[in-house]
């Protein structure tokens, strides 16, 4: 969605008492905040609850936000801490999905689409399944790097780590993700990669 105001302008409006501007600010970031929360919880209801809490928390402490980093980086650090607190509370067990059970589900789901769309949707579904099977930290690093287009330094700020540690984590997460995709796709992965 295209918004005529930048993050900084919207933040200034909110700090000036304009609550409606917060809805615009939220619309710019809600999809990614929800996606990131989902990487931790693996469950849409919980992810939505976390994402809502994050936006309320961000509103409450918006006056403490300094423009030294991007608003998105600051917001994602709230998502990370909220999600980690949530996981600790829930003692979530990360369960591996059965790779064999995934394939038929996807085929049934996309049966009414054309061949190209089916291939694209299937690829995306496989990758999403593979990301779901990763540990929350690995999934978060992958999501922040590829989908939020955050630099290693920014990811470090979000996760409270040194950029070099993030670099190592990212390499490992990629390696694990590749393995998961290979497990899901078996021999088909050779055609994809």
């Amino acid at each position: 969605m295209q918004n005529k105001y930048s993050d900084t302008e919207l933040i200034n409006k909110v700090l000036g008492g304009d609550k409606a501007a917060y809805a615009d600010l939220m619309k710019l970031h809600q999809r990614f905040v929800f996606t990131l929360a989902l990487r931790f919880t693996k469950n849409r209801e919980d992810a939505e609850e976390i994402a809502q809490d994050c936006f309320v928390k961000a509103y409450r402490s918006l006056n403490t936000f300094k423009n030294t980093s991007k608003f998105s980086t600051w917001l994602y650090s709230i998502v990370y801490t909220t999600a980690m607190t949530f996981l600790r509370k829930k003692r979530l067990d990360v369960q591996s999905l059965d790779a064999e059970g995934v394939l038929p589900k996807v085929e049934n789901h996309v049966s009414d689409l054309n061949a190209d769309e089916v291939e694209h949707k299937s690829k995306m579904a496989f990758v999403k399944r593979a990301i779901d099977q990763l540990l929350p930290d690995d999934a978060a690093v992958i999501t922040l790097f590829y989908q939020a287009e955050q630099s290693l330094e920014e990811i470090g700020q979000v996760l409270g780590m040194e950029p070099n540690t993030v670099k190592v984590k990212l390499h490992r997460a990629r390696h694990r993700l590749k393995e998961k995709i290979e497990n899901i796709l078996h021999h088909e992965v050779r055609e994809l990669l």
Binding site: K19, Q52, L152, K167, H171
Partner: protein, 164 residues
């Protein structure tokens, strides 16, 4: 993860040094194994980058804004009042006080004997037991305890809200 893969990822992420970058670039062109790993990593990057972001439910924004509307607005005096106005008012008061003091000191004839003597303060003997009996002390402590509990309640509520 092998060394070649590590080097290729550093090359793609731009986290290597200029020398390493040049070397890896040359190897990708000349070495078949490097070329193969490079293509694999590139495909992996495009595959993962192409994933769509998830969409929250339709009522997501509405739910958040309902909660936001219960929160106090952020409007602070700092953002509502122009800083120049505050400095103007402060300057005016500072000027009038300084002018008043200046006029006062100017009018004093420092050489003249005023004959002014400091008053002597004589405290009357005060019988405190008449006012501070045990009932008054008990009431005083009781009010103190209530105020203390009220403040503690406020503090705990604030902490609970911050935790949520």
């Amino acid at each position: 993860m092998n060394l070649i893969e590590q080097r290729i990822w550093d090359y793609l992420d731009g986290t290597d040094t200029a020398e390493q970058r040049e070397l890896t670039g040359r190897l990708i062109k000349s070495d078949l194994l490097y070329r193969q790993v490079y293509d694999e990593c590139n495909s992996f990057n495009s595959l993962v980058s192409a994933i769509d972001q998830e969409e929250p439910s339709m009522g997501f924004s509405r739910n958040v804004m309902e909660r936001i509307n219960l929160e106090p607005a952020h409007a602070s005096f700092k953002s509502l009042i122009d800083r120049r106005i505050i400095f103007g008012i402060a300057g005016f008061f500072l000027f009038t006080i300084t002018a008043l003091l200046g006029v006062l000191f100017y009018q004093i004839d420092w050489s003249q004997e005023t004959g002014f003597k400091m008053p002597q303060l004589i405290l009357l003997s005060l019988d405190s037991s008449k006012y501070l009996n045990s009932t008054i002390v008990n009431i005083f402590f009781f009010i103190d305890v209530i105020i203390g509990m009220y403040l503690l309640d406020g503090f705990l509520r604030k902490r609970l809200r911050a935790k949520q």
